[in-house]
Symmetry: C2
Subunit: 414 residues, 2 copies
Amino acid sequence: MYAEIISIGDEILIGQVVNTNSAWLAEQLNLLGIKIAQITVVADIPANIIKSLDDASIRADLILITGGLGPTKDDRTKQTLCKYFNTKLVLNNDVYEDIEKFFAIRGIPITELNRKQAEVPENCKIFRNKTGTAPGMWFEKNGKVFVSMPGVPFEMKEMMRKYVLAEITNHFKTEAIFHKTILTQGKGESFLSDLIEEWETNLPDFIKLAYLPSPGIVRLRLSAYGKEKSKLISEVEKQVEKLKNIIPEFIYGYDNETLEEIVGNLLKSKNKTLSIAESCTGGYISHKITGISGSSDYFAGAVICYSNDVKINELGVSPVNIEKQGAVSEEVVIEMAKGVKEKLKTDYAVATSGIAGPTGGTDKKPIGTTWIAIASPHNVFAQKFLFGNNRERNIQRASITALNMLRKEILKNI
Amino acid sequence: MYAEIISIGDEILIGQVVNTNSAWLAEQLNLLGIKIAQITVVADIPANIIKSLDDASIRADLILITGGLGPTKDDRTKQTLCKYFNTKLVLNNDVYEDIEKFFAIRGIPITELNRKQAEVPENCKIFRNKTGTAPGMWFEKNGKVFVSMPGVPFEMKEMMRKYVLAEITNHFKTEAIFHKTILTQGKGESFLSDLIEEWETNLPDFIKLAYLPSPGIVRLRLSAYGKEKSKLISEVEKQVEKLKNIIPEFIYGYDNETLEEIVGNLLKSKNKTLSIAESCTGGYISHKITGISGSSDYFAGAVICYSNDVKINELGVSPVNIEKQGAVSEEVVIEMAKGVKEKLKTDYAVATSGIAGPTGGTDKKPIGTTWIAIASPHNVFAQKFLFGNNRERNIQRASITALNMLRKEILKNI
């Protein structure tokens, strides 16, 4: 079964907006086992929209359309859909109520343009929009399904999650599907694939594996397709258990978890606190930790020590060590971790010191050289890494690696 | 004149990769005054590629194709292009040399698949690829131009900047064009458009204005189209001067500058140093500052003070002020700025304290309430802001606002 995605929007055609809607929709449909034949971005011009609908319905059974439904553009796109599906606009009272409520909550008077958003094509199924004003529409024509949704990403996603994905599953009676993503840290894609080659080769035919890499992280997504969901779940879980025995040290979580959430939850549940001393990561670890609402429960704070003076005066790093070993060294990063832990009176501390690049590398310490230290209630240790040449990626990889080292150390102490 | 963009790539159709290439290409073409009629993503299947080329050439004069040229997929796409343009593959010695060099530098043996990347269609113009192995190709057919480029974003961008944009300008003899972007901070799009309404209305017909908003920032892009480039430049500069008189307090820079670069350059040129005390921004300002290579010349470091204890013990904030005024208050944020400046012995300091949300708001201090303080060699002051409900955006807006306040204060002292 094939689907197509049509995005209507001048913002995309002038390059002002990246088409993230299509990527998200493509992923959602793929997770249902539906392949995408083509993605098309067209201008908000009736003839172009109709041509793209015609073309898509030749190749696909399901056509998802986003955009073109804003209050100012509404008329044209909806009239075009009416013409295409041979129907007319009628007032929908439910939608009108939603729009009234939307404006009442915000204390804004409802405009004539918004009022017209309650007029919908007579022969379509309506999806109410609780986060915006344009409703979604489900049309059927010659055995093909067309779904028109707003272009605002969070409105479209809410509508998909709440109604459209379920309708698609019902209508097309797609197979049962189960996905589970295993999150790994510490090894690149090719090394990982060597390690798990035998496991991968022996996966049953109905389970597919996808490698999804990003700086410092490789996500392994298992997708099982079949008749009985319960069987798919148990088989996937069996495979995950096998994988856990092969690469236990690289798995840190599952599905949509993040390292900063996992670390935060561990600290919170154990009533422990954290401080950070950041040199090369320059505040990025703290930024990730404080991105989580409620992090003030366990995160005391950090010292960003970009100068040697700050390392010495604020964290008690020995000037002799900086002189003899350099700021990027095991001795210094361990002193940084100990220093910030003591000063901010926390149970755990993380410290980073490295050469982020693109300048500052030497033969002995090339760009990408990074020391990371962890201090726990009864332990302190450091590890050296050699990342790459790109400053931004080095900062990301060092931060991810530090969070995972911290996670492992917390688990050891539980 | 119209162009179209065709992306060949399964990674985009399964939603694994967002199609940023298209957005970048669309922007580049728009900057040349070329409109995009349609963007299409197709699978790497000959029939689909040929259909999309046929369709695009009906609507457009220029068709840019990205992707489908990786060493493993190379054959199929190039053979398809050969068939479409009625030609055959021949070995290109320049390209072969480039590929040999590419592998020699990396110390990797050249494979048979890569060797075949040196075979190119006989009747096309070749763009050599200095950052990868697949060359670019320029075809002409029935008065239309087709350009095929690699899908790897940095290879494609390098090729566009180095060769393709100039070839397009030559071939299509596009008008002279000049763009200038004015960067503003401190007012939203609608408020700004009210302020500059008269100026905008009086812009000459050949100058277009685009509003490009992002959290905390609105970029105003002027695009002038005409015959003589020198005239366009002088007219745009004249309009920029006028605008500077209308909203001088909101303009912080031009074109691709960033606030962290501008602040960094100011500090560097004046030989001054900076420290930061971050509460609600949680390390994000430090992260932005340290994203700039060479920032260790002027950035001493920061104290991320997420707990009151750290504010009191590390920055010398008065416990009485925290008790009486709350941590999110003018008194506390000023003490934070003074404290970090003194402690880290810098010329300037920035401090932030606010309620990022989504919890922690009260009637008196709703979510989004943020105090920002600046300490300079002879001055210290704070300002209160009310941002929105979204944690991530609040952190971004507070950081951008703080950097701009710092910029203004440094300029006052010069």
